[in-house]
């Protein structure tokens, strides 16, 4: 019996079709403009009620108000309402929570319960900004060397080993002892607490040189990227972006994608800076003027404030940014922008002890920013690093304080807000440099979707007409399989939550054109077998059988290229490769098994005189 599929073969094909249909459904539903409110502490029902009430008093009727898992999602009928309420809630929540704009899918509950989601749209379709940040690995290693140097000094002092100098010089930490007899003790310390250092003995008897081992340097680099990702994630959360993507790319690059964000200036400021604060005592025992002339006393360091006035500060830091556990911005009693700081236990103890001993003396707040820029100089890419250290305020210690206090001296409320955010989110372990930016405005995103869909529909219809016109009934069957193929591609993209980009849509459109290739090969073969005077049933059988090898060969070449594209492509090109791969594979299934099933239904198992082909 020729041209008959068994029951299970039919069921399998229909089953795949049904599942694909269900999982492609979410894409038919739209999205609601919505506002998402979340907080580091879970929001209470009480707070939720209050927010709901305040939305209503503002004359906006939300489409829905959802409070689940301590997070609030408010859906609106239009974007005007959304933006209005977002601003309102931002003011209302202040530092207590994050308010993010979002597009919430309107997928019905039964689909969400089987985790059927709409395709994940890339930034070129939904609008937003894509950054590629490069972590400055050399700086990370250098910082680690500095830490080692400082720690080594402390350890030597701790063990009462007298040394002439511990200095950092071209990758080596050079240790000069007072007497060569202490060497054994130093080795002890190094072996116990400084395993990351590789020690060499120079000809000079009183010296030891230490260098970070390769393994340690690698570790430091890995850690700095990981640490930076955490910090960036914190910062992005503080910015209030729904569904951000933060991913490592390669060894030293981090991708940050912020859907819906338009204000790229602020985003760049927040992501790229390594701003932090340090608190130091002012050196009142020495003359500032002399220091400016070049005689900086040992144990002190010369700084400048905003007005370029010199300030001499103690080299020892009281507290640094990483001891800050919380920071918020606001105004002080005199209406100046201020940052309110909370320290952790260690920091608070240190600050308490110091302020107690130094009441009446001045203390300075130093704002530190590590700027990295890549510039083109004489055609060469030069990485230009600049450490900006400026004193933002000097104030007399009025009384003892430890855990909570405020810092003023900032230029604007905006600066205070940014600084508070940066202090809360933590410092970057190593400076980052924005090496790529791709921003797509919301109008262009929608434009791209519309154009993509339109060209898809038109392309699809053209192919359908050509096939039906040229191959008649068989062509129409191929058209059904073609539609089936698109449904499968959409379903798989939805299930994988792979990113759909504009080139991705182009990839789907291209597979529409390529998908029927297999049918062309099969149908031409069937026609040929009929010309060779084979009966219709045999012709169908031979057509499918003989064309298969050719179909396989031609699809494999396409697949190979698509896989290579996927491996080397980035961003939207990868999206193209993904749809191409899925499209090629699923078209093999639909164009061969799918059409065969329908043809078997129509022609199989009965006497056929003539085929409509």
């Amino acid at each position: 019996m020729q041209n008959h599929y068994s029951l299970w073969q039919n069921l399998l094909i229909l089953g795949i079709f049904l599942i694909s249909l269900i999982y492609s459904l979410p894409n038919l539903f739209g999205e609601d403009p919505s506002v998402q409110v979340s907080s580091t502490n879970t929001l209470t029902q009480d707070q939720a009620n209050k927010i709901e009430a305040s939305i209503k008093t503002n004359g906006v009727t939300p489409k829905a108000f959802e409070f689940t898992d301590g997070r609030i999602l408010v859906r609106f009928n239009n974007t005007d309402d959304q933006l209005k309420i977002a601003d309102l809630l931002r003011d209302q929540m202040g530092n207590d929570g994050t308010v993010a704009l979002n597009l919430a899918p309107t997928t019905p509950h039964w689909l969400r319960s089987i985790s059927a989601k709409a395709m994940y749209l890339g930034l070129d379709l939904r609008g937003g900004v894509h950054f590629l940040l490069e972590v400055d690995m050399d700086a990370a290693v250098k910082q680690a060397e500095e830490r080692y140097t400082e720690d080594l000094r402390l350890a030597l002092r701790d063990k009462k080993i007298r040394y002439q100098s511990v200095s950092k010089d071209s990758g080596y930490i050079r240790l000069k002892l007072k007497s060569a007899e202490d060497k054994a003790a130093v080795f002890d310390i190094l072996n116990k607490d400084f395993r990351g250092l590789k020690v060499t003995e120079p000809p000079e008897q009183d010296q030891l040189w230490a260098k970070m081992s390769d393994a340690d340097a690698r570790e430091v680099k890995k850690f700095s990227v990981a640490q930076n990702m955490t910090t960036l994630r914190n910062r992005v959360n503080e910015l209030g972006v729904a569904e951000p993507v933060i991913q490592q790319q390669g060894d030293n690059r981090i991708v940050v994608q912020l859907p819906g964000v338009q204000d790229t200036t602020r985003a760049k400021e927040i992501l790229g800076t390594t701003a932090t604060l340090e608190y130091r005592l002012v050196d009142v025992d020495h003359d500032v003027q002399k220091a400016v002339e070049g005689h900086v006393p040992v144990g002190s360091k010369l700084y400048y404030d905003k007005n370029k006035n010199a300030v001499l500060l103690d080299k020892r830091v009281i507290v640094t940014g990483d001891q800050i556990v919380d920071a918020s911005s606001g105004m002080d009693q005199d209406g100046r922008p201020a940052v309110f700081i909370s320290l952790n236990g260690v920091g608070a103890a240190k600050m308490g002890k110091l302020t107690q001993a130094n009441v009446g003396k001045p203390m300075a707040v130093v704002f530190i920013e590590n700027k990295v820029e890549t510039k083109l100089v004489d055609g060469q890419k030069i990485r230009h690093k600049e450490l900006v250290e400026k004193v933002i305020s000097v104030a007399t210690i009025q009384g003892v304080f430890s855990k909570r206090f405020q810092t003023t001296g900032l230029d604007s409320p905006q600066e205070a807000r940014n600084l508070a955010l940066l202090l809360r989110a933590g410092a970057l372990a190593a400076p980052v440099d924005i090496v790529e930016e791709r921003t797509v405005g919301p109008s262009l995103g929608q434009d791209n979707i519309n154009k993509g869909v339109l060209s898809f529909v038109v392309g699809f219809v053209l192919v359908v007409l050509l096939m039906a016109g040229y191959y008649k009934v068989f062509g129409m069957i191929a058209d059904i399989a073609l539609a089936f193929n698109v449904v499968i591609v959409v379903a798989i993209l939805s299930m994988l939550q792979a990113t759909l980009t504009l080139p991705g849509i182009a990839g789907i459109i291209l597979t529409v054109g390529m998908s029927v290739d297999a049918n062309v090969l099969i149908f031409e073969r069937i026609r040929e077998e009929i010309r060779n005077a084979h009966p219709p049933q045999t012709a169908i059988f031979m057509g499918y059988d003989r064309a298969f090898g050719t179909i396989l060969d031609s699809h494999v070449t396409n697949l190979v290229v698509a896989v290579v594209l996927f491996a080397f492509g980035t961003g939207s090109v990868k999206g193209f490769a993904v749809t191409l791969i899925i499209g090629i594979l699923s078209s093999m299934f639909t164009a061969i098994a799918g059409t065969r099933m329908v043809i078997n239904w129509i022609y199989g198992n009965r006497r056929v005189e003539k085929l409509s082909i």
Partner: protein, 308 residues
């Protein structure tokens, strides 16, 4: 469609001459003019802004000039309301903030501010990486396909297929060079897709040649190839036709961003079809393909047992 009897192989000299001329033009243009590389590879900044009404490019250029962006190029993009501003990587300027500064500058003294539609900034490091990755992708996919065709067919066919494919790629690149079309990442993706696609038609013809070699031992190689090309002519054209149709749709309706991508594939498909009919088989013939080369390989369809 009736089976045709066109003497493709016999007239190979005409096709070869035509292709030869095309190739020479393409290679000379590529060597002399080169490709108009997009910022994906050169690095730089690209800003697309939209106006409510027709944009006045002259005013825009003047504004940019006065604001110190002297090396900015300004042009319409798709419609007269959309404007594309390009900035090269500048000496001594940090490019990451450039886009914000440009937007600020053009919206400063105007009552009809432009809305930002798109910004692309590619730093010098990334541009180099993208170019390297692109080149590697081109290399690897070519090698992979060469190996696949060599395994499935025979080395002379493999070389023939590669010649045909290279022909398509170089001529398409030549089109981009001659008409100074911008070559960016999406175009590179299109060129790669083209490599896979261009082989499609060629393989259809080769499959038939292989089959005919087994069936018609007595016929001369040249005649057999002619029969194979003629036999497969309708499917070769249909296969290209379907893809051509969707690409035309993409070209006219897909928008400016995808324009060059569609152009690359459109030309690629046309040349691919042409080369698989006129170039691929003659190339294998000139390399000295004979029936003996194909007697040994597995019988076509042998691996199909068990397929429904």
């Amino acid at each position: 469609m009736k089976t045709t009897h066109i003497n493709f192989i016999g007239n190979r000299k005409i096709a070869m001459t035509f292709s030869g001329i095309l190739m020479v033009i393409a290679i000379v243009s590529l060597a002399v003019r080169g490709l108009q590389m997009g910022i994906d590879f050169t690095g730089g900044t690209l800003i697309e802004v939209g106006y409510q009404q027709t944009a006045d490019l002259a005013v825009l250029r003047k504004t940019l000039d006065e604001s110190g962006f002297t090396n900015a190029t300004v042009q319409n993009f798709g419609t007269s309301k959309d404007v594309l501003i390009r900035l090269k990587l500048q000496e001594g300027v940090n490019s990451a903030d450039l886009s914000n500064k440009v937007l600020e500058a053009i919206n400063k003294n105007t009552t009809t501010p432009a809305s930002l539609r798109r910004v692309e900034f590619v730093g010098p490091q990334v541009g180099d990486d993208l170019a390297t990755d692109g080149f590697l992708a081109l290399l690897y996919s070519t090698v992979a396909i060469l190996v696949y065709v060599a395994v499935r067919f025979e080395w002379k066919f493999s070389v023939g297929a590669i010649i045909a494919t290279f022909h398509d790629v170089i001529v398409t690149l030549g089109v981009f060079s001659v008409f100074a079309l911008e070559f960016d990442l999406t175009v590179l993706a299109a060129i790669l897709a083209l490599i896979g696609y261009s082989l499609n038609d060629t393989i259809v013809v080769y499959d038939r040649i292989r089959e005919n070699f087994r069936k018609m031992r007595k016929t001369s190689t040249e005649d057999m190839m002619n029969i194979a090309v003629n036999d497969t002519l309708s499917r070769t054209i249909m296969i290209s036709m379907t893809v051509f149709l969707v690409l035309v749709s993409l070209f006219f309706l897909g928008g400016e961003v995808i324009h060059n991508f569609s152009i690359a594939l459109l030309f690629g498909v046309v040349f691919g079809t042409y080369s698989s009919i006129f170039i691929a088989s003659p190339a294998a013939l000139i390399l000295g393909v004979s029936p003996e080369d194909l007697i040994v390989p597995e019988k076509e369809g042998a691996h199909l047992d068990g397929m429904p």
